[in-house]
């Protein structure tokens, strides 16, 4: 019984280290030094998902094209990225960006580019599935009313498809938020690296430190996942209603 009591008190003994370094976990060395910690993770995820949206929209629409010279490059991009670990993509940009650009590139920027290119391939698949889920009659009716293919896509198909895709985009954002932890490999000062720094500096309380950042990631991801589930239910109801009204 005593050892159980010790075990339980041991679990709560060292949380002071987490508490004292909490600002470092949240914003890194900012404002004295560069921004880091959770703020950096969120920043990378937000910039990453915006970039990935446009890349994914483009690649997804090209993938749907019937012209081989448009569709094959998109297939190649999507399949290569989806078959490769993110860590590998991060290393590509980390090592090749200086060679391609001819000068050194900050780690944070090469990490963000890696996130955009990686997530873009997954967004492309979401876009493709979303467009394919819109009934064919919509396109035919739009073309029949005199719109060109591009006009029909922009004004009729995409507005409907994109709305249905919102839950999938939120889920992809959650994945990306978790994936930003990989940027620590190339020394981007985000949340996971901040935790490693605190542990290296104090050499104490690794359980508390890593549990604390796990909780930080969890709160963000879980809230967003719950939101996406609600949206999904809402959209399903909305669709059921319109289908009924027909």
């Amino acid at each position: 019984m005593d050892s159980l009591w010790q075990w339980c008190t041991g679990l709560f003994a060292n949380w002071g280290i987490v508490w004292r370094n909490f600002d470092y976990l949240l914003v890194g060395a900012y404002p004295q030094g560069p921004l880091g910690g959770l703020a950096m993770s969120i920043l990378m995820a937000v910039v990453g998902i915006f970039g990935a949206f446009w890349i994914g929209l483009g690649a997804g629409l090209l993938r749907l094209s019937k012209r081989p010279w448009l569709c094959w490059p998109a297939i190649l991009y999507i399949e290569v990225i989806r078959g490769t670990p993110l860590l590998m993509v991060i290393f590509w940009f980390y090592f090749f960006a200086p060679i391609l650009m001819g000068h050194s590139v900050p780690e944070t920027e090469s990490a963000i580019v890696a996130f955009i290119v990686f997530t873009g391939a997954y967004v492309a698949e979401i876009v493709r599935a979303g467009v394919l889920a819109i009934p064919k009659g919509q396109m035919e009716a739009a073309r029949g009313s005199g719109l060109s293919h591009a006009q029909a896509m922009i004004h009729v198909i995409l507005p409907q498809a994109l709305r249905n895709m919102i839950p999938s985009f939120v889920n992809q954002f959650v994945s990306l938020t978790k994936d930003t932890s990989l940027a620590m490999i190339i020394n981007v000062p985000e949340l996971t690296l901040a935790a490693r720094h605190i542990y290296t500096r104090t050499m104490k309380a690794p359980m508390e430190i890593f549990l604390a950042i796990a909780l930080l990631y969890f709160v963000i991801c879980w809230v967003l996942t719950a939101l996406s589930r609600r949206l999904e239910r809402h959209l399903a109801r909305y669709q059921a209603r319109t289908a009924h009204g027909r």
Partner: protein, 234 residues
């Protein structure tokens, strides 16, 4: 910055060997982890589908927590921070193993189990209840109905998502390099450090990962064609 390509160096001498060793470690790690993840995932699904509230709550919180935290953090937690919470006999066993390799397997299988549990649950729930009721009505016992009617259908549906979970697991196993497991990505990094030919080293390892995933997606397509009759003329 000048960069001269040298592909021969990657395949010459010990470097080619390093890639093969890395691939072997990646496959071994993923193979062991998928088996453990399947066992744990099935167990979680049983808890999740049981009607006993505390068990359901345990399974739900496990699944939600492991799915909504980064694998990287989980790996660090198991490697650096799990010491105070692991029972003594398990620690004694663990420290006799290759500790990095064992930790990576623990992290990968507990993480993947949460995803597998979700796949299994939706697979089982996708079989209409009437199937069970009808087979019970024809005189089969519950276990017979499960074994001959429900599970054969559920497994046909579940296998493709399970295979793609395995694919994710192979890709996720690259994170084990952060704690020093000498798998494929670690070896690519190592070759880069020794030869300064990062481009070649990362291209080769990317191609290895790619061929693994192409092989797996080919298997899924074949499976779908044969057993689910998706994407073939009926």
């Amino acid at each position: 910055m000048q960069y001269t390509f040298n592909w021969a160096i990657i395949f010459s001498g010990e470097y080619g060997r390093w890639f093969l060793d890395g691939l072997a470690t990646t496959l071994e790690m993923s193979g062991i982890s998928i088996v453990l993840a399947l066992v744990l995932g099935t167990f979680l699904t049983v808890l999740r589908l049981s009607r006993i509230t505390p068990l359901v709550w345990f399974a739900v919180s496990y699944i939600e927590f492991f799915r909504n935290t980064p694998l990287m953090v989980q790996i660090f937690f198991w490697y650096f921070g799990s010491d105070p919470i692991l029972p003594g006999f398990f620690k004694a066993w663990l420290y006799r193993q290759n500790i990095e390799f064992a930790t990576a397997i623990i992290a990968l299988s507990t993480y993947t189990a949460a995803f597998i549990a979700e796949e299994l649950r939706s697979g089982i729930l996708s079989i209409p209840k009437t199937q069970l009721e009808a087979s019970r009505a024809t005189g089969l016992s519950f276990l017979q109905a499960m074994a001959y009617v429900i599970l054969p259908q559920a497994f046909r549906i579940i296998i493709p998502p399970l295979i793609s979970q395995f694919l994710n697991l192979i890709k996720n196993s690259s994170l084990a390099m952060t704690i020093g497991v000498m798998e494929l990505t670690y070896m690519a990094r190592q070759v880069e450090a020794h030869t300064f030919h990062g481009f070649e080293a990362f291209t080769v390892s990317t191609l290895i990962y790619l061929s693994l995933s192409l092989l797996v997606s080919f298997l899924i397509t074949q499976y779908n064609r044969r057993f689910l009759r998706i994407g073939s003329a009926r």
